[in-house]
């Protein structure tokens, strides 16, 4: 169960995995996420679904190697099995025919916006995609994104590839151009989603963001993922992960994401020492 069927390095820091999970694939929809454990003693981490194939019975996930769990996942090979893989969790993206929509993906957020764009386009929307990353080598899926959008704007923070801009710049230009934008989605680092929301707010364009708060069970049981939206406490795992970006308390989210930074560092350093040792002895 939960075997890795394909593995691909998308950027120097992120990898794609195609996981055998026919039941999850049968139900998965754009905007939902899974929670996986790499091994018995592993933690449960949420990852937004990057693609699903109902016929092949697979789910695609993309993980950026930032901590022990994602690094460990990066060492797993085709044929290996995850310890657990639970989903689809969270509410799917509300897909309707809105008209013209702009979908912004920053960094790793490019992966989850792919199925969102595809579903929005299938529903008859005119889809403008904006994808960006810090630099060119961190960008991925440009071609795939072109195939599910009517227009695609690509930018990098440092200008090492395509246009030198933050994703908010082309977004603002679009809003200023007088074109009617009916809805905006933004998926990526919290800080990027915050600034996208701040950009659209003066224009009164509803902006949906996908909140990546810390989770454990992903079913509403623990409340680790609680966020404040419109002054109300919500659980990102069951009430979200998508919320109205204009109502999110971003500072709270950013602070809550840092609860375990010190312990995460301990776990990562310990794991890296382990990796070094096993390299010295020739093991994996």
């Amino acid at each position: 169960m939960y075997r890795i069927l394909e593995k691909e390095a998308l950027t120097p820091v992120s990898k794609l995995f195609v996981i055998e999970a026919p039941e999850v694939a049968r139900k998965a929809q754009a905007g939902q996420f899974v929670i996986l454990r790499t091994h018995e003693k592993g933690e449960r981490i949420p990852l937004t679904i990057a693609d699903y194939d109902r016929e092949a019975g697979t789910i695609t996930i993309v993980a950026q190697e930032v901590g022990k769990t994602t690094k460990y996942l990066g060492t797993m090979q085709v044929g290996d099995s995850l310890a657990s893989f639970t989903g689809p969790l969270g509410r799917p993206t509300e897909i309707e025919k809105y008209g013209t929509v702009v979908v912004v993906g920053g960094g790793l957020g490019i992966a989850p916006i792919y199925p969102i764009c595809r579903s929005l386009r299938q529903a008859g929307n005119y889809v403008v995609g904006i994808i960006g990353a810090r630099s060119g080598n961190l960008l991925f899926w440009e071609d795939k994104m072109r195939s599910v959008t009517d227009e695609l704007i690509v930018c990098t923070d440092d200008g090492s590839y395509a246009r030198k801009a933050l994703v908010t710049e082309p977004l603002k230009e679009l809003l200023d151009s007088g074109r009617k934008v009916d809805r905006v989605w933004a998926v990526g680092p919290a800080i990027m989603m915050k600034f996208v929301s701040l950009t659209t707010q003066p224009y009164g364009v509803k902006t949906i963001v996908s909140l990546n708060s810390i989770m454990v069970d992903g079913t509403g049981m623990c409340g680790s993922c609680r966020v404040s939206v419109g002054g109300r406490t919500r659980f990102a795992c069951v009430d979200g992960p998508e919320f109205d970006g204009h109502e999110v308390d971003w500072d709270l989210l950013l602070k809550r994401q840092r609860i375990y930074v010190d312990l995460e560092k301990i776990a990562l350093e310990r794991y890296e020492r382990e990796l070094m040792r096993s390299k010295d002895t020739g093991g994996r």
Binding site: E43, V216, T219, M221, C222, S228, T233, R256, R258, A267
Partner: protein, 476 residues
């Protein structure tokens, strides 16, 4: 028998780990009777011809009979009598509130100490596990399939009973480990996880198929399951945490008890970084509430390294809902109880971390709807407590995730409406039992509900009593 009436044997104490030692480890606190102690305690039983203790038991375990078998040395006999009514005696012996159930009714308790029924139950069950549990022969398959949703005490019991009747049973568990609250909620030091795993193994040997990582409501809806199975038992408990809705509740360092306990127990946070999931408690912890979950959270905080742990409870000592033994153990370990105190606000610093809590003193008024005296705030009695961790242990509600597409009648509290005599809901072929019906209650009542439902599912699938249990005209 020679249990002389004149010679009063005192209630036998159960050996425990020394409080000073155990407050820093996760090993089991209570060590269990030796055979000698068990027999001495069993000999105190008067073998009443009309045993009140049985009336006090939510599932009517034939208590005097198993005690008699025990003192006559017929251990397998004792096991059989116990398990006839209680499928999880090793667990119930540890976590049942005996002092308000069987032991409250014991005749000896009128003029002294009641028989330590819970400790004897535990002794018999532990003996059985040490021998290796006997697996009953599998009956001929009935050819019908049942889905049991949730693998806590209600689900495990229903699954075992149905498997023994020859049904094909799939247990669907949302988490990666079966056991429900027995695994994620109750700590290792109170209920060692190998005991729960032994029960799960036993079910597997009975032929029960346990499927983890199946979130009903997401991966399958109830209506989809109704197409795949002949009957469904819903035993998903009450897993949703209740928060206070006071200012500051989202500061870092405020946990629901569910989160603290799940990180600690299910994810083995106490073994971090050997296990990957972190859990963080500060130096001074306040746990709000005084039920068993609050005691578990407080004592876990201590073991995770907190220097000072308070139980903050708005009523007085007399109303504490936790098991007496847990309160006693908590006090021995140095937990501080602040009665008639209620938080009104949590303070934090610029980085978003808890720095303190404003509380108000309470007094007790007239009984409220729950029958307990209503706590009333004393105006102007506010004071501040310096704490860096706050744990909300105010109770839980059923998780609505499971219902998704199902037209299942529920109460305003979110619990499922079911016939207490059979566990039948108002949806054909769906039964429910345990906390999802009663709201947060006990392991034994959930176990009993699982058993009642299993009996009725069998009856129904044999074509008996298929008529609705609620008055037809008033049906929803």
């Amino acid at each position: 028998m020679a249990e002389g009436k004149k010679k009063r044997i005192p209630r036998q104490e159960m050996p425990t780990q020394d409080p000073q030692e155990r407050r820093r480890n996760f090993h089991e606190v209570a060590l269990g009777y030796t055979l000698e102690l068990a027999v001495a305690e069993a000999n105190r039983c008067l073998q009443c011809p009309k045993p009140f203790c049985v009336e006090g038991c939510p599932v009517q375990v034939r208590i005097p009979e198993f005690i008699k078998a025990l003192r006559e040395g017929d251990m397998w006999g004792a096991v059989e009598i116990l398990k006839d009514k209680n499928s999880l005696p090793a667990i119930c012996g540890r976590v049942c509130p005996q002092e308000t159930q069987c032991e409250a009714k014991c005749v000896l308790g009128r003029r002294g100490e009641p028989v330590a029924i819970g400790r004897l139950e535990r002794f018999v069950a532990d003996w059985e596990r040490a021998q290796g549990m006997r697996i009953p022969e599998r009956p001929a398959p009935v050819g019908k399939k049942i889905a049991v949703i949730g693998s806590g005490p209600a689900g495990l019991t229903a699954a075992g009973d149905l498997a023994k009747k020859g049904y094909e049973v799939d247990v669907l568990e949302a988490l990666h480990t079966p056991g429900g609250v027995l695994m994620y909620g109750i700590p290792e030091f109170r209920l060692p996880k190998d005991i729960v795993m032994a029960e799960i193994d036993y079910l597997r040997k009975l032929g029960v198929n346990i499927r983890t990582n199946v979130v009903v409501g997401k991966l399958y809806t109830l209506n989809e399951l109704l197409e795949l199975y002949d009957a469904i038992f819903l035993g998903t408990g009450a897993g949703l945490p209740i928060m206070m809705n006071i200012p500051g509740e989202n500061y870092n360092g405020v946990y629901s008890a569910n989160e603290l306990l799940t990180r600690t127990n299910l994810m083995k946070g106490y073994l971090f970084p050997e296990w990957d999931t972190p859990v963080k408690v500060g130096n001074k912890v306040a746990v709000i509430g005084a039920g068993n979950v609050a005691m578990d959270a407080a004592r876990s905080s201590l073991r995770l390294g907190a220097e000072e742990v308070h139980i903050v409870y708005r009523r007085s000592r007399a109303e504490v809902p936790a098991r007496a033994e847990e309160v006693h153990h908590a006090e021995e370990e140095g937990i501080i109880f602040d009665f008639l105190t209620n938080p009104v606000e949590i303070y934090g610093n610029e980085d978003g971390w808890v720095t303190g809590m404003r509380c108000i003193r309470m007094r007790l008024g007239e009984p409220d709807a729950s029958g307990r005296p209503r706590p009333i705030p004393i105006e102007g009695s506010e004071f501040d407590m310096e704490v860096d961790t706050v744990v909300m242990a105010l109770g839980t509600r059923p998780n609505p995730l499971v219902f998704s597409d199902a037209q299942l009648e529920r109460t305003r509290r979110g619990t499922v409406v079911a016939d207490p005599k059979t566990g039948r809901t108002k949806l054909e072929r769906v039964w429910a039992g345990g906390d999802i019906v009663t709201g947060a209650a006990t392991v034994i009542s959930a176990m009993g509900a699982g058993r009642i439902a299993a009996t009725d599912i069998d009856r129904y699938l044999r074509g008996e009593g298929t008529e609705p249990w609620w008055p037809e005209d008033g049906a929803s």
